[in-house]
């Protein structure tokens, strides 16, 4: 962030929260707190928290390694260990980091897991990832929560029942055993109430892009906004406080008619409003973002910010349906939705947020997102008559981020949007 960008209070709060989390992880041995490794999509952070355990998210480690320019080395390390160049780079980055001593962003070693909780939602590779982790941490108990896919575009009572039974039969008993605490429904109830409050705020925040100019960028800044709920703070008063502060700051921007804040200060002119599908690139995140704000493009909605939970459709964690609502949360995450649901959701966002264009950032690593994206794109183009664009990169493998290719493609896309605007005038 450049010197002239004043840090908002919410940014300071977020920094403190994340700093505190890593401090807790660093002190886990001394404090005796147990550590659970788990994934962001379909995470059971409320349940873990109810047992006073700490969470480590391997994909967050991977993305942070990408931003810290460490992923290249880690990926190569995993490839030396036998992994193919063709597979998901999040997995390789994480494994490479572990092989290198598992040093986190603060320079401290991330503690080893006491429990590997595979609540795998929306991505088959998670299974494979954990089979690899299980080999790296032999003897550490593994709990598995299989989330059924919304193949028919719905969550049936049978699907929920299947998940609840797994929670009761495997996940909760293992958590009780590891933490030494009995499952406490009352405690979980309070936590879920905080989650629901936080989710209300999240929806309000991302809905502010309805304004013109949009006061936020729902992709590049959006990934920071979803940080706290995705790394285990959902279900805490701290998170609700953070999101309330963030919302009031955004409201202030709306009042003043201001555009989004970028790393180089406030975006002066909003020329294009886009909906983006697919995760961002982390290794060149700043340059990537700059390609957009330099052209006056703001992202008014993105599917990626729904990877850790979809709330706009009304889902909230429900303190009166504890395990059912944890299950429905898992099943509702974006990559667990079928392609038709994804397209319908994106179409609605394009309309609701008055987007000028739809862009896919197709990620080499991620079949869960990428397989089917070209059809999704063409369907949206046909259905809404909206200009569509397509770029390719990777999450954390810098070998697959070609600045000039992306720039060329984006320039043509923006030209197309410009022409479309001229015609409609």
């Amino acid at each position: 962030m450049s010197e002239n960008v004043k840090k908002e209070k919410s940014m300071i709060l977020q920094k403190e929260m994340i700093g505190g989390l890593f401090k807790d992880l660093g002190n886990a041995k001394e404090s005796g707190k147990k550590v659970v490794y788990t994934f962001v999509p379909g995470n059971l952070s409320e349940l873990i928290r109810s047992f006073d355990m700490l969470m480590v998210y391997p994909e967050i480690n991977a993305l942070q390694s990408g931003m810290r320019k460490k992923s290249d080395e880690y990926i190569k390390e995993a490839e030396k260990w036998g992994h193919s160049e063709d597979v998901c780079t999040y997995v390789k980055c994480d494994i490479g980091m572990m092989l290198n001593g598992n040093i986190g962003p603060t320079g401290e070693k991330i503690p080893d897991p006491d429990l590997l909780l595979l609540s795998y939602t929306g991505c088959f590779t998670f299974l494979k990832w954990f089979e690899n982790l299980e080999k790296l941490y032999p003897g550490v108990p593994v709990a598995l929560l299989h989330t059924p896919y919304q193949e028919n575009g719905e969550i049936t009572p049978e699907m929920t029942d299947y998940m609840v039974k797994q929670l009761k039969n495997d996940v909760i008993p293992k958590m009780e055993q590891i933490s030494g605490q009995k499952f406490n429904p009352e405690k979980l109830k309070t936590i879920l109430q905080h989650s629901a409050d936080t989710e209300d705020m999240i929806v309000k925040i991302f809905d502010t892009t309805k304004n013109k100019p949009s006061p936020i960028d729902a992709y590049f800044a959006g990934v920071y906004y979803i940080g706290p709920i995705n790394i285990g703070f959902r279900g805490t008063a701290e998170a609700t406080g953070y999101y309330k502060e963030l919302y009031s700051e955004i409201q202030e921007r709306v009042k003043l008619g201001l555009g989004p804040v970028t790393p180089e200060g406030e975006m002066k002119e909003e020329k294009f409003r886009l909906v983006v599908e697919g995760p961002p690139n982390w290794t060149s995140f700043r340059e990537f973002w700059k390609l957009f704000y330099d052209m006056g493009a703001v992202i008014v909605s993105s599917s990626y910010t729904r990877v850790g939970g979809v709330y706009k459709n009304g889902f909230r964690h429900d303190p009166n349906r504890l395990l059912e609502s944890l299950s429905e949360y898992c099943m509702g995450c974006y990559t667990n939705m079928n392609l038709k649901q994804r397209v319908d959701m994106l179409a609605q966002e394009i309309v609701d947020y008055k987007a000028d264009g739809f862009l896919v950032n197709s990620i080499k690593s991620c079949n869960s997102f990428s397989a089917g994206q070209l059809l999704m794109m063409r369907t949206l183009e046909d259905r809404l008559g909206i200009p569509v664009g397509f770029i390719e990169s990777d999450l954390v493998d810098p070998r697959y981020f070609s600045y000039s290719n992306i720039k060329n493609r984006l320039e043509s896309f923006f030209q197309m949007l410009d022409q479309r605007k001229l015609i409609s005038v």
Partner: protein, 390 residues
């Protein structure tokens, strides 16, 4: 031409008939019959058979279908098989198919189900979630619900109600089918020269596109031939191939491996047809449950099944030992996360057990085999040399 060669040739034609003429003919013969296509790997075909259906395995176009529109549906870094499947779907190869099942195996196949749904291909396109919880009361029950969901879709089409008698009959036929296939593998284990790996492949693959009754007859005829002491042994090593359970290598690649000095004594090429290890109970009054129990308790190991508690590396090594193989070939399709992410674990287990192996990647329409031939040849030579030295 020998009877065996005739059978193998017939099966080759069936396996690679991308217009599924045998299945179409079968459907025309009686009103109310349905064809249900299923993608790799495993699908409980018995349930389709029991309701006047023919389950037909779909393995893409391999190296026999030119991809014209399929590439417009998939980025370059996604494996090859789905582009062949979508190409076939859009160019009418599945015209007489009533529905499609996409077993849970990976995100590519999963999302392909959505592409079929969005493109309105078939009367139904169902992603079938397989439980990763292996307890009868939880995962087993869920699996029964998934099977019932497929059955209800077929009933909507042909109105046929499932009965226990019919399903038990179908289970019996598929039990026999698996036994016959295993008999072929057992004979090939000690006398692999009696039936080449390519012929074996064609003979077993044909079973994915014709009624099981017909396939059983073919298998029995094949067995009758190879139970005799035919052919001449050659100086080749014995290998197990693994990783090729979904996107299939071109037949020329299988031939290349054989010609480079290997007898393939086991493989996962047609894993779906051999998935359940042993018989499924065909005497119960709840045969759907019997299929579910077999899935829970008798499934083979696979990259698509979570293995903690029953590691697949140990199971692969015992298979290799059972087949008295000299080495293992890890052959995986390019960009196949499930197969490729298993390799480091498998390789390490082989290192620990001092089992020789090689890894390579392929895609279904690979045309150049020189590098693989050299790699396999060197592998075979090194094992032979090592054996002589030892």
């Amino acid at each position: 031409m020998s009877k065996l060669k005739e059978l193998a040739n017939k099966c080759e034609k069936l396996s690679f008939d991308l217009n599924f003429k045998a299945a179409r003919k079968w459907k025309m013969e009686k009103e109310g019959r349905v064809i249900v296509g299923y993608m790799p790997i495993y699908f409980p075909r018995e349930i389709i058979h029991a309701v006047e259906g023919l389950p037909v395995g779909i393995l893409g176009g391999g190296d026999r279908k030119q991809i014209i529109v399929g590439d417009a549906y998939y980025q370059s870094y996604i494996c090859h098989i789905p582009r062949g499947i979508i190409e076939m779907a859009l160019s009418g190869h599945f015209a007489d198919f009533d529905g499609f099942v996409f077993p849970s195996i990976c995100d590519v196949i999963r999302n392909l189900s959505g592409m079929f749904q969005m493109s309105n291909i078939g009367k139904f396109a169902k992603y079938m979630d397989f439980p990763q919880d292996f307890s009868s009361e939880i995962g087993g029950k869920f699996y029964i619900q998934e099977m019932n969901s497929v059955l209800s879709k077929i009933k909507k089409i042909n109105g046929v109600e499932l009965t226990s008698t019919n399903l038990n009959n179908s289970i019996g036929l598929y039990n026999k089918n698996r036994r016959l296939i295993e008999d072929i593998y057992d004979i090939r284990q000690h006398s692999p020269w009696r039936l080449s790996a390519v012929d074996t492949y064609h003979i077993i693959r044909a079973g994915m596109v014709i009624p099981v009754e017909d396939h059983n007859i073919i298998l029995e005829e094949v067995l009758e031939e190879i139970r005799q002491d035919i052919g001449e042994p050659m100086d080749k090593i014995k290998v197990v191939i693994t990783g090729a359970f979904c996107e299939q290598p071109p037949v020329s690649l299988i031939r290349t491996i054989e010609m480079a000095g290997c007898y393939i004594v086991d493989d996962d090429l047609m894993l779906g047809s051999r998935w359940i290890q042993g018989d499924i109970d065909n005497t119960s009054d709840n045969p759907v449950r019997a299929i579910s129990e077999a899935y829970i308790n008798k499934s083979t190991f696979s990259s698509s099944v979570y293995d903690v508690g029953n590691p697949k590396s140990e199971r692969l090594i015992s298979l290799s030992k059972k087949r008295k193989a000299d080495g293992i070939i890890f052959a995986a399709p390019s960009f196949c996360d499930p197969a490729l992410l298993d390799n480091p674990i498998y390789n390490k287990a082989c290192d620990d057990q001092k089992i020789r192996y090689i890894n390579f990647q392929y895609h279904e329409n690979i045309g150049q085999f020189k590098v693989i031939k050299e790699q396999v040849g060197a592998f075979s030579d090194s094992i032979k040399l090592w054996e002589t030295d030892a």
